[in-house]
């Protein structure tokens, strides 16, 4: 049900009531996807403006987060494609689509992480983010949605356009890949055997 387009005042009011409270979520997600603060701010801004223009598509009472994250994902993909076409300097690191569903078995790392809660708490946020940024884009998207933002797996699957089973397998694989990315640092800090 789309309904009539909102008038300008109503749309603005609704934007600041239902969309703006999620601006931090969008910027945080963009910061964890992009490699530069300015690029992340541009992506978030474009997402918010697109959301404002099509705010009448968001049903009253619906959780706005999956809808906004879907817009953000399209903005990000469009920018990656556009940059690839123009060979500009927008970061494409890890944007390859998609070794994420590689079916090779994940090697168990249980023995290396004797006390995972305590050990993972020793990493700073910056170190965790560096680890995340080392992962392929689709894996990173999955971890950002499911683990960082706590989005329901069903909603995450809709945002990513994949089955729920794929979200589950990417989440598990992504966490293992993140630990693998953190392992050299953990060894350097003498946290792991």
């Amino acid at each position: 049900m789309k309904g009539r387009p909102l008038d300008s005042d109503a749309a603005t009011d609704r934007f600041y009531r239902t969309i703006w409270p999620h601006a931090a979520l969008l910027l945080r997600t963009a910061l964890l996807l992009c490699h530069h603060q300015t690029e992340a701010e541009d992506v978030s801004q474009e997402t918010l403006l697109k959301a404002f223009k099509s705010i009448d598509q968001l049903h009253e009472g619906d959780d706005a987060r999956p809808w906004l994250l879907t817009i953000l994902r399209h903005v990000r993909i469009d920018r990656i494609r556009s940059a690839a076409a123009k060979h500009t300097a927008v970061s494409l690191d890890g944007a390859d689509m998609d070794p994420a569903d590689d079916e090779s078995p994940v090697v168990s790392d249980v023995e290396a992480w004797s006390d995972p809660n305590a050990m993972l708490q020793q990493f700073s946020n910056t170190q965790m983010i560096d680890g995340l940024k080392a992962l392929p884009e689709e894996i990173r998207w999955t971890l950002l949605l499911v683990d960082v933002e706590g989005i329901d797996q069903q909603d995450a699957a809709a945002v990513l356009g994949v089955p729920v089973g794929t979200v589950k397998s990417r989440s598990s694989r992504g966490r293992a890949m993140l630990r693998k990315a953190l392992l050299p640092l953990a060894q350097e800090l003498r946290m792991v055997r």
Partner: protein
């Protein structure tokens, strides 16, 4: 959600998920995005000022009366939804997470502006005179967010967590009464916690200081 993983693989997965979820309360600088959006989308304040002009008329007075009754109904419903229980362990963990991840702010007003942008529904921080700049972040107990600020009291990091009055409840081990305000006292692993409600806010002061000192500090917090 299963919080008791049954095997080491699941425990490792769960620990990774928990650590990633903590990035959600990572402070971020919203100022540029806020400025850009406010420039391109008419500001809410402009709409509000238009409405304020309308309120001046007799129709506005009638609408205000109806609105007031509506607000009271909403408040009654909201209060009946019940507060979230915050245990001593959760508040001590909140303190540790806040000290670890809070972002330093240039001034008290910057800190208040940042928290207001992150948590528009949470009351403003009280006015605090500090020798050193505070640091802020958004903390969570359950799914409920709190505005958190780390400050220096007697050369010790103390967290002040703020929410609306009635949003959280605790089970204090004892209480101290000062000037008609009851301060709930509890502790976890050497971390002292003082909770109290005042000026429409729920406060928690958390740190490794004697509870009496935290209460004395609480009394200095102004609206």
């Amino acid at each position: 959600m299963n919080t008791n993983p049954i095997n080491p693989e699941e425990a490792l997965d769960e620990a990774t998920r928990v650590r990633l979820s903590q990035l959600r309360s990572m402070p971020i600088d919203m100022s540029k995005l806020k400025d850009a959006i406010r420039t391109q989308i008419p500001q809410r304040e402009v709409l509000e000022s238009r409405r304020q002009r309308w309120w001046l008329g007799p129709r506005g007075a009638i609408a205000a009366s109806i609105g007031l009754v509506g607000l009271l109904i909403v408040l009654v419903i909201a209060s009946s939804a019940g507060p979230v229980y915050a245990s001593a362990d959760q508040l001590a963990s909140l303190h540790q997470a806040t000290v670890r991840s809070a972002m330093p702010m240039g001034s008290m007003s910057t800190a208040c502006d940042w928290l207001a942008s992150q948590l528009p529904d949470t009351p403003e921080m009280p006015n605090i005179l500090l020798d050193k700049v505070p640091a802020c972040c958004v903390g969570h107990i359950g799914r409920k967010p709190l505005g958190c600020m780390v400050m220096d009291v007697d050369n010790t990091s103390v967290t002040l967590a703020i929410a609306r009055a009635g949003e959280f409840k605790t089970n204090p081990d004892g209480s101290i009464e000062r000037d008609g305000v009851h301060y709930g006292i509890q502790s976890s692993g050497g971390v002292q916690i003082v909770t109290f409600a005042r000026d429409g806010r729920w406060h928690a002061l958390i740190g490794v200081l004697p509870a009496e000192r935290l209460v004395e500090f609480a009394r200095t917090l102004k609206v």
